[in-house]
């Protein structure tokens, strides 16, 4: 299960709408081992493509150094599909390299750059095996972990 705050999820969706028809991509980092996404980091799609995404290699190094310094890990790795459903493609599965991450996919095929409906789904991708998981959206002003 992916628990994510509404504001973080909204930020991911806004990025996907803005970059349509190219794929948008990024990370939501969080404290190591906590499985809580907290820090939204939109990345440039170096491929600038409607069918492929790749973090720029220098950006990737800077991202991982920064997360190391902050004792964070990539809790969520997100990207958009702009013409197909929000389900991992063959290349998504082949290149998935963070076994602890939630792979969050957003499809903008209906909404494009507009305010229409988006499809959002989350997966684990480990050793070529895809497992879908529920997405639980928490209220933006009641972060996970706070006592009720």
């Amino acid at each position: 299960m992916l628990e994510i705050s509404a504001d973080l999820l909204d930020a991911v969706i806004a990025h996907a709408r803005a970059d349509h028809p190219d794929e948008a991509c990024g990370v939501i980092a969080g404290p190591e081992g906590a499985d809580i996404p907290t820090r939204f980091i939109p990345m440039v799609n170096a491929a600038r493509s409607p069918t492929f995404y790749e973090f720029d290699s220098r950006d990737l190094l800077a991202l991982y150094r920064d997360m190391d310094d902050r004792e964070e890990e990539p809790v969520v790795i997100y990207h958009s599909h702009t013409a197909t459903e929000a389900y991992p493609s063959r290349t998504d599965i082949a290149y998935a390299s963070e076994p602890h991450a939630h792979y969050l996919l957003v499809s903008t095929r209906e909404c494009g750059n507009g305010d229409g409906p988006v499809e959002v789904r989350s997966f684990r991708i480990v050793d070529g095996a895809v497992t879908e998981e529920p997405v639980v959206v928490t209220s933006a002003d009641a972060p996970i972990g706070d006592a009720p």
């Binding site: 290699s57 063959r90 390299s97």
Partner: protein
Amino acid sequence: MAIEVRIPTILRPYTDGAKVVEGNGATLAALIDDLDSRHVGLRDRLVEDGALRRFVNVYLNDEDVRFLGGIDTALSDGDSVTILPAVAGG
């Protein structure tokens, strides 16, 4: 003297979970051979047909070795090598 090598999460099963290991080699290829002698299987995850795999990024200090000499990039004692899988897909 040695070269520090930072290992990404997905390859830590080869290093008994270690985030950082040390190795030796005058070139990146020699360093990878040296690492593979202690962390068997690591080379195959990094190298294909004598070149670095397309979706594995290797950095010497702050520079992607693709912009240096690729797998033949020369190394010196005290260098730091970072391995990061590409974050990519379709």
